[in-house]
Symmetry: C3
């Protein structure tokens, strides 16, 4: 997705722009946490980078696609670092941006999960496991972000986030099994994930939390 | 080990069943911790998956055997998720299962360490380092499990666990150096690890804890 | 760098010795933290190993150079474990060694960053991203060390450390772009990193810490 498409391909351009927007807002979420934790400039930019790009790096390591995309071009890093610098500059107003950040975060999640699933299918991953690779792209960065400031990852605690990514991934697998072409299947999966995530956000859906075992 | 062996190979069948049992109880230990930490359904199943399978994934990443076995078939994931669901359903009785869980955990440790060492030798790892790869299969999942709930990994604190895995791995290396065939050497290494681990458990052996440096 | 060079190559010998000294003092820093955290013998040696060698392992995983160098020869492990054992034996005097440890830590940082950048350039990493790979060799081990004892990595908090590694890496890239041979470019980059790090240590330079956002 990273070589620039010719101008007459509007869908490719749209996906490229949304992919970049997803990286940007993932980076904002990493940098915002780093500011709260009082990290230094390097720490803020590293958390922006890691939150935005570690999921994709992990996908490429799992698939054996080395060096990872993030290292073979400076595009991803430039977007992530821009997100980090933007967060520092706009820190006084970042609270007011919560709604658009959540929207583009959900768009990014859908795209990363669907495209990651598609890439996993190309690399001989079992179709039932490919959505797990897509999910890793969506949640891997956030997990490492939380571990680096030593808190239990948010994604493990009562929110419909990873599950939306998995649903989008299985839609891609189903589409491919039904003979739908790769790009429409991917867009369908991304939209399903986006819809589920937004519904969960605006209706306050959470995931069941099993009761604690007695005295364990 | 994952293609089904023909019925007339009882040793292969036994190893396959024990390998599955090891994955299952590793998953139980991850899920039990997740229940105690009050994670949601996704968190419980992710911790089951990671505890059971991350060690093997890390082994395959280190060896360049990508995509990892856990992604090229759904068998491992199915066993690990079954272990997670079982733990949720049986949560009120899980305390009474502590003894069989410890037994099968030790069996799994032995098998994972010995088979991991054998695979490392096949991938041109130095014979003195191959047992470290086998050990990673046995302890990698538990370390990530503990990090995800932000506690210092148990395996670093006063128990004969990783050391038993290393001993089993070096037995495999020694067997191979002495010209013993791969399968008997592996079974010998697994039994040595199992024996050491059970002895340590039932005799309460612990590893020496060096004194803290003064004022450091 | 790990096959022994012939005796008439004094620069190669010097680099090999300094590389080993860097691994040794990285291991000391891991083992010293482990002693403070009251880990057992295995935990102390594992933290020594991981602090000294995880950065290089991560570099090789990112580049697809598997199995990593640390697994294809026992040299690195032997040096790291020697550093761990030395720390246990010398624990009462380790406080007095703080100055030489800091000096060799800075030398190691410079060498690891410069050599890692050079290796990344050989593996088709984008020249703008290659210094990030070199930096990972220098800081990856320390980050995992801190995560294993559940504290926020030191390198994210107000010190000129990773930034010195990046500067050294960009010097290597610039040297290569200007047509300078690989070895002198690498030595120049290592010296730049070393100089920056020592200046920062002795002048007390720190990195800017952005103010916390209001009420975020």
């Amino acid at each position: 997705m990273h070589a620039l498409p010719p101008l007459e391909q509007p869908v490719e351009w749209l996906l490229l722009v949304l992919d970049g927007a997803g990286i940007f807002v993932f980076a904002v979420s990493g940098a915002a946490l780093a500011l709260r934790e009082r990290l230094d400039l390097f720490g803020v930019l590293l958390l922006a980078f890691v939150t935005a790009l570690f999921g994709g790096i992990l996908r490429d390591l799992l698939l054996g696609a080395t060096p990872p995309e993030t290292l073979t071009s400076w595009r991803n890093a430039a977007i992530a670092l821009s997100g980090g610098i933007f967060t520092i500059l706009a820190r006084n107003g970042i609270g007011r941006l919560a709604k658009p950040v959540r929207l583009f975060d959900a768009i990014g999640l859908g795209l990363f999960a669907a495209a990651g699933t598609g890439k996993a299918l190309d690399f001989q991953v079992d179709p039932l496991m490919a959505p797990a690779v897509g999910m890793v792209v969506g949640i891997g960065g956030g997990i490492l972000r939380d571990l680096l400031v030593t808190r239990t990852p948010l994604v493990l605690q009562a929110e419909i986030y990873a599950v939306a990514a998995l649903a989008g991934g299985y839609a891609v697998v189903a589409g491919q099994a039904l003979g739908i072409a790769a790009q429409p299947a991917m867009i369908g999966g991304a939209l399903l994930c986006l819809g589920l995530r937004l519904l969960a956000l605006y209706r306050g859906w959470t995931l069941w939390q099993p009761p604690a075992p007695p005295g364990l």
